[in-house]
Symmetry: C2
Subunit: 427 residues, 2 copies
């Protein structure tokens, strides 16, 4: 006798990345540029140990941290999250109609993405993302039965002129009332490493206001990587351009700048969305780990957070430089090979002259050589669409060491040469 | 311009308990028997501090705990969870067709309840719970658009003969194919403190098998309080009676026996449900706090978990005895006042001769005296149903100290006397 699953369960699919996670587990000699893990050696073990030691040595603070917390999150932490977000944009909370009650602490930023989906989206609603974009979020949207449309990117991030054309087309087709949400990873995007430029930021906000005709269109600004900038000047968040706090939900996380093991992220959002979102959060878990929140509150309070992020920038800058140098050396003069040069974050987007997909010759050769990447086609919503590029790859320099990065690129070079040879023989 | 929320958001309501949480925050002199918090003084601060200290002092173990984990949960912890669950029932995993791959670690047991709902339930599907039952779960079911039916309880827990009658009626009405799930808190139930008897356990399992005609009916066994037994012999879990691992999803938590701040629970479930459930978990958060899981793994490994639970039983036994003694003294000879005498857990179910609801004279008098309880009607699905009792209350002895418990009952006595007087005057 079988179990009859829900309609949503039937449209909730495996993450394509699962297969690659499995590969990495089964083959320990593999160097993975696929997994989006963080640099292990810079994880703040001593810092968290010392904070735990102090906090758990006093009965009052220990009990507060080990007891249940609140659904919205620890209030002193929400104050500090707001203060830090405002400091990044060099503005005051009052300038953008925000206060700490507009902050919600979540189990990583992924839970924020999930709950925002539940809050806003009915089957058939439209969400617009960048092409390519974060594949885990695409899975969430598919599970919700949503129609996901993608807008191409260039060196300035999402091409907002193409977004404008899309919105005009949707309006003409009478579908503007189904456009609920625009999702952008606007700093050092996962998977491309590209950043939304200032003029595009302004254009995006202008479009969102202009096309909020039938209902208010929201922007989900996923700024998970913002704090990991190595080069150039920081850009203002979309949230800071949303002066009335009406359109932008800003999602960030402590996973990248501090530790994924704490599983703590947060959102800053329009005030009228907070209560309905918290109703979902109450049903999910009535509050994320209180212990992790109390640790993070102390880490922010002491200034250790800021110092750690400063160190991390150096760590990831070196890793990025190592990967880019190795790519330049390995693929010097190779026709049709190019890659992005991110100013921050953890990802490089590689374009090859051959297909990169899971069944491609390149992938097979790469696995044989002992290197793993994420096939670029996983980052497009409709991978079966023949007009979409099939020759890209996401390379993550988060977890591999400098030596491993150099070796991984050599292996990738050998795999590409092998795939090229095969191509030459077969064509 | 308003935001158009999803259909689900429109049917996702505030937890009624929010009001009482707020009362407790606003009035620090209030003694709350409403909040389901755990005893603060017995929270294992030193234990967790020492485990953190050791784990975070070695680079290898620190990095493993602070990095991302897996969606299903830390494998060594899942092994130990399974071993402990089997030890509680004095059986072998093989006897009930379970292995560690049937264990999923969640953000508290609440997240398991939520995801099981997403996995199984479409709007209009039927879930059967006990009357009364855990109000947070009712909120989740309402949010999913499910039809919740309730079966009365007596001293032996859910009245399975009434359950049988209900299933027969549903079958006659052609609605048996909508019955997806039976939810039971079968040890020291929240809110009544009652436990499902052995013969009822067997009857329940027999019914579930017999009525799995159109599809497999599942039992969600919420055993959050099982380990906190003070008196009498332990009873086998429903899971242990599900020899083929087909019908029972067992949910448990580390919040009560260890610390809510760790926000870690788990489920043991039929093998064919694991992969579809993990697809939801992947979209929710791709894994609960890895740091908390590594701590719990060590606490289980060292035997400290078992010792701590043993201590906790003494702590809660004293609290239960204190509350029951105070009730006996305060309400000796009072007509129409009675209460349950739980053999474990954290809850006593009180019946009064007067109404106990949020707008009742008793509630107003109680707030004035400085004591808070959960109105019993919140624990029934349809609080507006006039046939449901309106004169019950949930008393939680988890968080209050022994002195506070005595004082709380005195205040409750004064409030009841006041409400009685008013009743006499007005009638």
């Amino acid at each position: 006798m079988t179990v009859r699953l829900s309609t949503r369960a039937m449209q909730t699919h495996d993450q394509p990345i699962s297969y690659f996670m499995q590969q990495a587990v089964e083959n320990p000699h593999l160097i993975s540029l696929a997994a989006g893990l963080v640099d292990p050696d810079s994880l703040p073990a001593a810092l968290i140990r010392d904070v735990m030691d102090e906090m758990l040595s006093s009965a009052g603070t220990a009990q507060a941290a080990l007891q249940y917390g609140t659904t919205q999150g620890y209030a002193p932490l929400r104050d500090k999250i707001l203060a830090r977000a405002m400091a990044l944009d060099a503005i005051k909370a009052g300038d953008v109609a925000l206060d700490a009650d507009d902050v919600v602490v979540t189990s990583g930023s992924q839970q924020l993405l999930y709950m925002v989906g539940e809050l806003l989206l009915d089957p058939g609603d439209i969400v617009i993302t960048e092409a390519p974009s974060y594949f885990v979020y695409h899975g969430t949207l598919t599970s919700l039965g949503v129609r996901t449309l993608q807008v191409p990117m260039d060196e300035e991030g999402m091409d907002t002129h193409r977004l404008e054309e899309l919105l005009v087309r949707l309006e003409k087709a009478g579908a503007l009332d189904r456009v609920k949400l625009i999702y952008t990873i606007d700093y050092f995007q996962n998977p491309t490493g590209l950043t939304l430029s200032m003029s595009r930021r302004q254009h995006l906000m202008e479009l969102v206001r202009r096309f909020s005709k039938k209902q208010r269109i929201l922007v989900l600004e996923d700024a998970a990587y913002r704090e990991l900038r190595f080069d150039g000047l920081d850009l203002p968040s979309l949230k800071s351009l949303d002066r009335d706090n009406r359109h932008v939900i800003l999602g960030m996380t402590f996973s990248k700048p501090m530790a994924p093991g704490l599983k703590t992220g947060y959102g800053l959002m329009p005030s009228d969305l907070v209560a309905p979102l918290l109703r979902f959060k109450g049903n999910h878990d009535f509050g994320s780990s209180n212990l992790a929140q109390h640790v993070l509150d102390r880490v922010l309070e002491s200034g250790a957070y800021e110092r750690h992020v400063e160190d991390l920038r150096e760590v990831y800058r070196r890793k990025r430089d190592t990967l880019l140098d190795a790519l330049a050396e390995e693929f010097a003069g190779a026709n049709g090979v190019k890659w992005t040069e991110p100013a921050g974050g953890m990802y490089v987007w590689l374009t090859q002259p051959v297909e990169t997909g899971p069944d491609s010759r390149l992938m097979k050769a790469a696995l044989k050589e002992g290197v793993l990447y994420v096939p670029g086609q996983f980052c497009y919503v409709n991978g079966a669409d023949t007009t979409l590029p099939k020759n890209e790859a996401r390379l993550c320099y988060g977890v591999a060491s400098l030596d491993q990065l150099r070796e991984a690129v050599k292996r990738l070079g050998r795999a590409a040469a092998c795939a090229d040879d095969l191509l030459a023989i077969l064509s």
